[in-house]
């Protein structure tokens, strides 16, 4: 089932087109990683999906229902938009109590269980203004998750979390996704996003320039062997004889993109040793999401 559907979303602020004709779909249980540079339009898009901003053009459906027309499923939605804030004069527990009422919840146990889940027990009576950034972020997540939403919008949810916190949240989100929660997440920590997302959307200058599932991403990521020996010219000849093209990079190392070579690097290594040019450097490189993102942006810039 399609949980998020956006059709031709556009948002103009006077002369600035912040979001330009974006259409996207997210299915139940998917984790959609939304990636873009600062000012690319990520937060504006998320705000339109949450009805905080009215699109200049376009429609948003959540759970198949138009959010503009008597939408009655906000209790199935949890969110953090940009930085997390809380009522500074109130403790963690009191802040959660406010959202307990605002979400018409009935079971006060939900507050205890989310405090426990996000490891906020020791801070539950601490006023929000005295919380560290990491704990404030946990409070934000607690507010977003307390009512067990079926759809989560998380804009930079890892902000301020320590490495252990990042891992905890990542595992929690994976578990939620396994249980059927749909997650729409944006983050600057692309490595983190790569570990989580089942689908990636790249937004640049307000346009959705690339959208692909994680298995498709796996196929388009650049994979290569990096080789360096005492005589790289000889190695180029040797590999050419085997129908394996190799090119020299700006560090004078050799790069081999041939799939056969990448899949059986031990063979290449053996040939080099037998030919008297044993490798000084030999490793398989796989492009990560960050490099893929930068490459995509660069292509987009060149096409513009």
């Amino acid at each position: 089932m399609k949980v998020i559907e956006a059709f031709n979303l556009t948002k103009r602020f006077k002369d600035l087109i912040a979001v330009n004709n974006i259409s996207l779909e997210v299915e139940t249980g998917e984790i959609y990683g939304f990636v873009g540079l600062n000012g690319a339009g990520k937060t504006t898009t998320i705000r339109m999906l949450l009805k905080m901003l009215k699109p200049t053009q376009g429609t948003v459906l959540l759970f198949g229902k138009d959010i503009d027309k008597k939408f009655d499923r906000w209790n199935d939605v949890g969110y953090i938009v940009e930085a997390t804030y809380a009522y500074p004069n109130l403790s963690v527990r009191e802040n959660l109590e406010i959202f307990f009422y605002l979400r018409n919840l009935k079971n006060k146990q939900l507050i205890d269980s989310i405090i426990e889940k996000l490891k906020l027990e020791n801070y539950q009576n601490t006023k929000a203004k005295h919380l560290s950034l990491g704990n404030l972020q946990r409070l934000g997540l607690a507010k977003a998750l307390m009512h067990s939403p079926k759809l989560l919008f998380l804009d930079e949810p890892m902000n301020g979390l320590d490495p252990a916190g990042i891992i905890e949240v990542r595992e929690m989100l994976k578990e939620l996704s396994r249980q059927g929660t749909t997650i729409f997440i944006s983050s600057h920590i692309l490595g983190e996003l790569a570990k989580l997302a089942t689908k990636i959307g790249i937004i640049h200058k307000g346009r959705l320039v690339r959208q692909l599932k994680s298995d498709e991403l796996e196929k388009v990521l650049i994979k290569k062997l990096i080789i360096d020996t005492k005589d790289n010219t000889q190695v180029i000849k040797l590999l050419k004889d085997k129908n394996i093209p190799a090119v020299q990079n700006d560090k004078s190392e050799l790069e081999v993109y041939d799939n056969q070579a990448i899949n059986k690097p031990e063979l290449i290594c053996e040939w080099l040793v037998n030919a008297g040019v044993p490798p000084r450097t030999f490793y398989a490189f796989e492009e990560d999401l960050e490099s893929f993102f930068m490459r995509t942006i660069k292509i987009e810039e060149n096409n513009a």
Binding site: N75, N89, E97, N104
Partner: protein, 263 residues
């Protein structure tokens, strides 16, 4: 109804541990206390140094010292003027705090509608302002009792109390514009600026002869602060302009929160 109740409870929760609540009570309490001090000085003119402005002022006042003049001059008129400031501050705090605390985004995509959230804020505003008014009235009776003011007549007291509460209601009704400015400008400053401008206009416009149609001048005129002659000019259109102004402020507040972009 349940949603409104829950929104109201959340608003009450938000006021916990806030010194601002007590500050408004202390600020508003200045009205009967200062009135009591002036009454005391009029009773005992010998206590004031001759060079004091108060002495000059006191000598100018030919106010009779009794319950009627104390409650009328310093409670009702105080509510008409200090009320605009203090109630304006209450409205700007209640409606502007979500922006200064940056919590407004948390309120936008919830099962409780935005209209109900604002109605809950208006209910808290009414309760807060009425509590201020009642506390001032009680304090006024205590101060008057301590001063042992003469002239306690049930009918007189009842009449002035009625004027006091109607003045309070008129001032409260005008708070809808403060709430609108708090949402429109996203914080406290603009509504407080609006308050200063409107207070100046409320003082100036009665000189033009149109004060009884200017909503923010009406509380001061109604409570008798501008004299009986001006008070007698108040008519149905005066109250209609007040009602319409309040209603427009309310509609703007709800409409802005409901339909405007909240980036």
């Amino acid at each position: 109804m349940k949603e409104l109740k829950n929104a109201f409870l959340s608003e009450i929760y938000k006021l916990r541990h806030l010194s601002i609540v007590w500050i408004t009570f202390v600020a508003f309490a200045m009205v009967p206390i200062m009135g009591g001090v002036i009454m005391f000085l009029i009773q005992n003119p010998g206590l004031i140094p001759k060079s004091s402005i108060l002495n000059i002022k006191t000598s100018m006042l030919s106010t009779p010292v009794n319950w009627g003049s104390y409650l009328s001059l310093y409670l009702s008129q105080g509510a008409g003027i200090a009320g605009i400031i203090v109630y304006g501050f209450v409205a700007s705090y209640l409606f502007g705090r979500e922006y200064s605390d940056h919590t407004y985004r948390d309120l936008l995509s919830l099962p409780i509608s935005r209209t109900k959230q604002l109605n809950a804020k208006f209910i808290v505003y009414i309760i807060w302002c009425l509590s201020l008014a009642i506390s001032d009235l009680i304090l006024g009776f205590i101060v008057g009792g301590i001063l042992n003011l003469p002239g306690w007549e049930y009918n007189v007291i009842l009449g002035i109390t009625k004027i006091y509460f109607v003045t309070v209601l008129i001032v409260m009704a005008l708070g809808t514009w403060i709430s609108f400015f708090a949402l429109w400008a996203k914080g406290y400053l603009a509504p407080l600026g609006f308050l200063i401008v409107i207070l100046m206009l409320a003082q100036f416009i009665p000189y033009t002869g149109w004060g009884h149609y200017f909503p923010w001048s009406i509380p001061g005129i109604y409570c008798g602060g501008a004299g009986e002659d001006l008070r007698n000019l108040l008519n149905g259109w005066s109250y209609f302009s007040l009602l319409i102004t309040s209603l427009i402020g309310y509609i703007l507040t709800i409409g802005w929160w409901k339909y405007s972009d909240q980036p």
